[in-house]
Subunit: 339 residues, 2 copies
DNA sequence: AACGCTTATGAAATCGGTTTCTGACATCTG
DNA sequence: CAGATGTCAGAAACCGATTTCATAAGCGTT
């Protein structure tokens, strides 16, 4: 491996000078810089990021910490991978790389926090269950960090305007004449609270009495539990005419179930999703959903994180709302008139 | 940060001894190991992976290099994320973390190879376009590596038995009476060649004359081009009764297009996909497809890579075929009888 | 000529580990 | 009991960078 020492010899300067050229110290005259740069190019110099990290105390790696609970895994949900994709593009352009930090699952390897420190990540992006013990350890640490769908005060969180858009989507159903609406919401979290509130407020503003039977909880992305819940709904004495699912995947699973039960969507039952994934638009019927702006979210997460890393002292948690878009599709239609 | 020097002082031994305890040198008696380990636990010692990498010359990071061409991005395809997921689990259990290495897109940052060397990755997992110049640089290097859907002789490749399963799926259509079948295959690659061969052989064995009109090329995951190609097929004077798509996503996009054209699937046109993603089974009609065993593929990639890293000298490229499963769904049906 | 003031450079310590090599001490052997 | 052997521990060099601090050279002042 070519090191700055090799460069130094060839360029007839000291290693310190080479290092200073690399880091663009103002005390180095242009002439020297040019000379050293020429030799570096000529010798195909590749800096050792590890050595740099050791002496600087921080690497150019951004840790990605994702944990959704035991059964669900990092890469499986398209919403997150879309956000990651946009995030990655943004941080790459600043020369940071993404390091997927692993969690202590087997008991042998370190915790999230330990792995972050050990790998001296410059910052971290958090996804998933913020109540998890290992997550909390990171959240309470002084590692610069941001998180998607976080609304607390310990770090910067980026999220969609869930309240507004959920309300809007609910209104859309109400406008279509639906009165028996059930919202199957995701696991308990800040995000879920806002969505539920938007749902309730839309119902209230329409002057419809709210009932607990309008709400149900399920786990994201678990197709089986979605099927079960949906079947139970269909079997109710007074079944809903519209079902609102927590995300596009479960909406699609729901529609499948509805069809298996011999009913049609939207003719018999209207369905909504959430997230606005491309596949939901390819699906037929195209989902009525809320499209989260994953590009903007990923970019914003990256920008906020880099701000935090660049100025660790003055870093302060922010709450950043990104505008989502209500996407009316063909999975919702007018309520079936009772003959 | 607690270092081995702090441990050494507290445990009343030398730093070398601490290091030897960490690395489990046989010359250290159990008693000393126990003592040092106790102090490490007590002081909450977290090793510095960067320092370790510097002195060892190799990190515990595995580089993930993915490049599919300018328009498609790493995380967008569920097949890859599923494989990654399984791969990650396997390498995590050996204490490796995943580092997403970036490519020189802006001209400012380094190439794949430079970034791998700079970050001293222990090994690399390659996805995508192996003809890309930066990819080739890595492939020709002596970095331990494996790749998915690679069938060359420069590194170990893992892939499904595309030939067999494509043939089987084609036969399935032939058995249903289809004679006018079009296979829209992916971009030119070894994998594609085998699939095409499987397709052709099934056709030949059925005694049907092969025509170039039975084959079409498209780019993976580009919904628009899938729509266009599908529309063109439907407008043919003598349109096909079955269309085989290169993956599940395009099959679903194809079915949408078919419906938009006022036709039904499978009643009017049968459709097949490839990959066997969960969403394809939620889709209705459930896709007839070939399910790639992403769990096994990811695990095998990890195992082969680790083998290579553990014994760099004797490493030799292998070709590993993983058995896929033909998954008959309801997107294929008997050919419509001509009245 | 002696002084101060820039400007450019390099020596050396440092980051936190690993590893080689030497030597102290204990134990075995004849 | 001398000499050979084996066990354990630590000193020191090293990995490849950064950064502080000292100093040499050049230049203008007085």
């Amino acid at each position: 491996m070519v090191t700055i020492y090799d460069i130094a010899v060839k360029a007839k300067v000291s290693p310190s000078t080479v290092s200073k050229v690399i880091n663009d110290y103002p005390s180095i005259p242009e002439e020297t810089k040019a000379k050293v740069n020429r030799v570096m190019k000529q010798m195909n110099y590749i800096p050792d990021a590890g050595a740099k990290a050791l002496s600087k105390g921080s690497s150019y790696n951004i840790g990605v910490l994702a944990y959704f609970g035991t059964n669900i895994s990092t890469f499986r949900h398209a919403l997150f991978t879309e956000i990651l994709d946009s995030f990655q593009q943004e941080v790459n352009s600043r020369n940071y790389d993404l390091l997927f930090v692993s969690k202590n699952l087997t008991g042998r390897d370190g915790t999230f926090y330990q792995n972050c420190v050990s790998r001296s990540v410059a910052g971290a992006l958090l996804f998933g269950d913020f109540e998890d013990e290992e997550m909390k350890e990171v959240i309470d640490s002084n590692i610069p960090k941001v998180a998607f769908d976080y609304m607390g005060d310990k770090m910067t969180g980026v999220y969609s305007d869930n309240y507004q858009k959920m309300k809007k989507m609910t209104k859309h159903l109400l406008d279509l004449g639906h009165r028996k609406i059930v919202f199957i919401h995701g696991e308990d979290s800040d995000i879920t609270k806002y969505r539920v509130q938007g749902f309730k407020d839309a119902i209230a503003e329409a002057g419809i009495p709210f009932s607990d039977r309008m709400l149900l909880e399920t786990l994201y992305t678990d197709a089986d539990s979605v099927k079960n819940i949906t079947m139970n709904l269909l079997r109710r004495a007074n079944p809903p005419t519209a079902i609102m699912y927590p995300d596009d995947y479960s909406a699609m699973a729901g529609i499948s179930t509805i069809r298996e039960a011999g009913l049609r969507c939207p003719d018999d039952i209207s369905v909504t999703g959430f997230d606005g994934l491309p596949i939901g638009q390819t699906f037929s019927p195209a989902l009525t959903t809320v499209k989260q702006d994953t590009d903007a979210i990923g970019r914003l997460l990256a920008q906020k994180l880099i701000e935090n890393m660049d100025d660790k002292e003055n870093a302060h948690p922010e709450l950043c709302e990104v505008r989502a878009t209500f996407l009316p599709g063909s999975s919702t239609g007018p309520v079936k008139s009772i003959i």
